[in-house]
């Protein structure tokens, strides 16, 4: 089951925050999957700076983030890399965002941005793409 659910992820992020407070968290590396929002932010910004198309699926996944700032960073980064937004607005209501993310997922799958790994989208979020 592709349950890379954002809820446990968020819980982890919170844990990470608490641990960081006490200074006992081993420093996490910069990646789109980082639990630490700062490391995640750095990875998003790096992807855009480097126009790194291989990061597109990971960025699309972040469009589903529960954190609006992460969503904003992810869409700006995707726009940097591809020149497109597929109508995504980080501040729009969930349903509206889901539709735009569906478009992103379809565009990635279509090979439009090159040969990329599929978007490992949380099932809960991808249901709107189901008939």
């Amino acid at each position: 089951m592709a349950r890379v659910a954002s809820t446990p992820l968020l819980a982890l992020a919170m844990l990470c925050g608490v641990a960081a407070l006490s200074g006992c968290l081993p420093s996490e590396s910069v990646s789109l999957q980082a639990r630490d929002p700062v490391k995640r932010m750095e990875a998003i910004v790096d992807a855009a700076e480097e126009h790194d198309r291989s990061q597109i699926p990971g960025l699309v996944k972040l469009l589903d983030s529960d954190d609006p700032a992460t969503r904003m960073l992810a869409i700006r980064s995707l726009e940097e890399i591809t020149g497109e937004t597929h109508g995504y607005d980080h501040a729009a209501p969930r349903l509206q965002r889901d539709k735009a993310v569906d478009e992103w997922v379809a565009a990635v799958e279509s090979g439009k941005y090159g040969q990329l790994s599929p978007v490992a989208r949380d099932e809960r979020r991808s249901r709107s793409s189901q008939p």
Binding site: V45, A48, H51, L73, R76, S77, E79, E80
Partner: protein
């Protein structure tokens, strides 16, 4: 809204109504953007539009300073302003030119990123507040950004409607 290349240099070959040469020193940022926005104000643009023009000019100048000139503070930047009227009504064209290294306009958006750090925000803002924004290489050296702001709200692109020309291409028989 366009961000991309265009053969249109936006000047219509005519003398600008206002032309400012400044150094790439951030000290002059506020003066430059205030000058352009106060001109817009005198041309009858509403306050909101004037604020948006100031913001776009500021973002664009920051970009030239930070990325075009790598924070060099003694390089030239030119801002030219032309009011014009076409079938969509009154508008203001602002052209920002530099002598910085030429970049592929397709890649220019990424160049904004570091400055903006959460990226793409500066270009996003320019796109949001202006009706048109076109990056292109200047003939000999440097880059040119042509911005257009319309007095009336942005016409929404309607592909079916009388093959509406891109706002940038209108009223402009380029030399």
């Amino acid at each position: 809204m366009n961000v991309g290349t265009s053969g249109n240099n936006g000047t219509n070959g005519s003398t600008p109504h206002l032309r400012l040469q400044m150094l790439s020193n951030p000290l002059y940022l506020s003066g430059a953007r205030e000058l352009v926005s106060s001109v817009a104000k005198r041309l009858g643009f509403p306050d909101t539009a004037c604020g948006q023009i100031a913001l776009a000019v500021d973002e664009a100048l920051c970009n030239v300073m930070r990325h075009g000139y790598d924070r060099r503070e003694d390089a030239p930047i030119w801002i030219s302003v032309w009011p014009f009227t076409d079938e969509h009504g009154d508008a203001l064209r602002i052209v920002i030119e530099d002598e910085a290294k030429q970049v592929d306009p397709a890649a220019i958006k990424s160049r904004d990123l570091e400055q903006i750090r959460p990226g793409g925000l500066g270009v996003h803002i320019i796109k949001e507040v202006m009706d048109d924004a076109v990056y292109e290489k200047r003939d000999a050296v440097g880059m040119r950004l042509t911005l257009v702001k319309r007095k009336a709200p942005k016409p929404t692109p309607a592909p079916t409607a009388t093959s509406a020309p891109a706002p940038n291409a209108s009223g402009n028989s380029d030399v």
